[in-house]
């Protein structure tokens, strides 16, 4: 037992490392060439593993796509959440979340490109981002910052603006795009141009 434990631990640690090699490789490749244009063999090769090893860690090509997308969305949320949660104002949270999301995507284009790819084809990614958006918008509504009740289409519209912002930014647009995306969302939620600008410019970025 005393011997077995470390071995198991070592094995599972190794498993985790190998798995990470695969997801890293997939992330790199898929962000460069797009999800569909990346083959399982290429992922395995990039991870310096054999072709068949892939299927010891993932059931499917679809599975690694899901895993990688989830990992990226989680990483992006981790990058943002402490500051975002320190904001009391729902409107500020909405603006901050969007602006930061777009800026992180621009700073880590690998993440950004993958998410843009995944947005259309993998509902889970969209849903994961929508989840946080809903919380922030709901908070703002509760605080009386936005005049209309929460509904699903307003979230769809927010996701659409977010996605458009990421695409524009990856396409070479300047950082004003993320500020504009954030203000557009606040306007959609019912704020005037002036209010939206004030909320957004009150946010200090790190």
């Amino acid at each position: 037992m005393a011997l077995a434990m470390p071995r198991i631990a070592a094995n599972s640690a190794k498993r985790a490392r190998t798995r990470a090699r695969l997801t890293d490789a997939a992330l790199r490749l898929m962000s460069e060439r797009g999800i569909n244009a990346t083959s399982v063999s290429e992922i395995a090769a990039e991870a310096e593993l054999a072709n068949g090893t892939f299927y010891l860690y993932f059931h499917d090509k679809a599975e690694i796509v899901a895993v990688v997308c989830q990992a990226v969305t989680r990483a992006m949320h981790d990058d943002m959440s402490s500051t975002r949660l320190s904001l009391d104002d729902g409107a500020a949270r909405v603006a901050f979340g969007t602006q930061q999301f777009i800026e992180i995507a621009a700073a880590e284009p690998v993440w950004g490109r993958l998410l843009v790819s995944a947005f259309t084809e993998f509902a889970a990614v969209k849903e994961d981002i929508a989840h946080y958006m809903r919380l922030d918008v709901a908070l703002g509504i509760e605080q009386g910052r936005f005049p209309e009740p929460l509904d699903e289409f307003v979230i769809d519209a927010h996701l659409a603006i977010l996605r458009a912002g990421v695409i524009a930014r990856l396409d070479g647009a300047g950082p004003d795009v993320s500020a504009r995306a954030a203000e557009y969302q606040l306007r959609i939620l019912g704020m005037s141009v002036a209010e939206a600008r004030d909320v957004r410019s009150a946010i200090e970025r790190d």
Copy 2:
């Protein structure tokens, strides 16, 4: 000559019929599975034609994609343009265009789904729609209806809202979605909630 006419007519009518069978099949399939996920063989099979017959009518897979997308966008524009052009107010045009677009897409889900697919996978369609949007927004700006100058990201945001509206509507959301999408666009352009509602509700649909 009296004999030749009907033959030529019959042949060219047959050609047109077969071509239509192919474009119809392509439209149906591409709207269901997406443009890239539809193969030439599937199109031929759906049209109950042999594989090679496809290439008697289209040079390329790309050609039928272009033809089908153009046909659908033209059909949608035809459905809308006379009324849209009769509107003098740029803001009304923006709202009308978006609302109608989404409602037509909902009434002809095959068109709608194709366009959603084309948006991502076939840039020309996006650009075609963007073109009309730019005209209407520019008109509104010129008329002093919108406070900010025209720029590309505001068009991106409009397209994003339009697309989100179509998707939501095809997903089962009610007709209020198209009204909301139109109002959101007006808010993005700087109108207040009340102004946006007034512009939008002033529009009579046929």
Copy 3:
């Protein structure tokens, strides 16, 4: 009957004309792109005829190839034969035949290219040319101009030199190539360098 006769004649004349359109088209196309790279549809199109019309005149693609090749070899022989037959010396005939063949091929590259293509793939063409070569060589042997008896391989060697000459000429080599090819053949037949040169330079070209 009096009426039928001319009609049949007219028809068969028309048939011949249409057939000629097809063989001309085939000749043009096959000499440009090679035999295998020319499709039946292309031939029909070049002849301004419908696809299926081709099969009213030829059983096969192979058949038109044979017909065209035969026509070209016959045309080349026609271009040469009167002068060639006026030469009494077998050695002169051999040299003249080869030199003229290569020069005609250079002057009518369409013919030349087709024959080079056909040489390898269509035994009949080779045999047709070999036939005349055999006659001339046999005559020279009979006249005591060549020391060795006729055999098949000496004819193969002559054809090989002829073909090499045509290829070189079509490839841009100058007219000395045809003179050299003729002299090489005479040397193969046993003549000395000086004799071969004398025979060959005695020939006056038109």
Copy 4:
């Protein structure tokens, strides 16, 4: 390590075996039907492998053609070169090279037929053989054995004779053909019938 070795060896041995199955199949088929008339699927089927397996071993159809042709030309050169290089006389080298080449092609008709096909359809093979021919002819000229300077058409003529010899031999002609081909080449180079016979008959075959 002691365990890994056999596995690696076994795997690479298996790889080599499969690759050999493919090249053997390609050689057999291409020699029978010609290079261009042999499809990748036919090669795979002849090797009793799946279609796609081919592409695990060769990037391209062109690659296996190159590999097979190179292998055969190298094998032929290996069969000849030691003896050929031991000959000091350029004329003897020319004659020996050609005679041996034809005899090996006759002894290994699969090689012979492939080379005949490659001559027409795969220029590199022709050039490879021409290279050695040029060396030998140049040597003979330098030694004063041949009266005329080296030029490209004389090499073309040599290749043509060589090819004709291989074809005749594969077609059932006797071994005298290779001797005759060699003598014809020497005659082309300017030697008299007697000199050519002497040079050629001085060569002892292994």
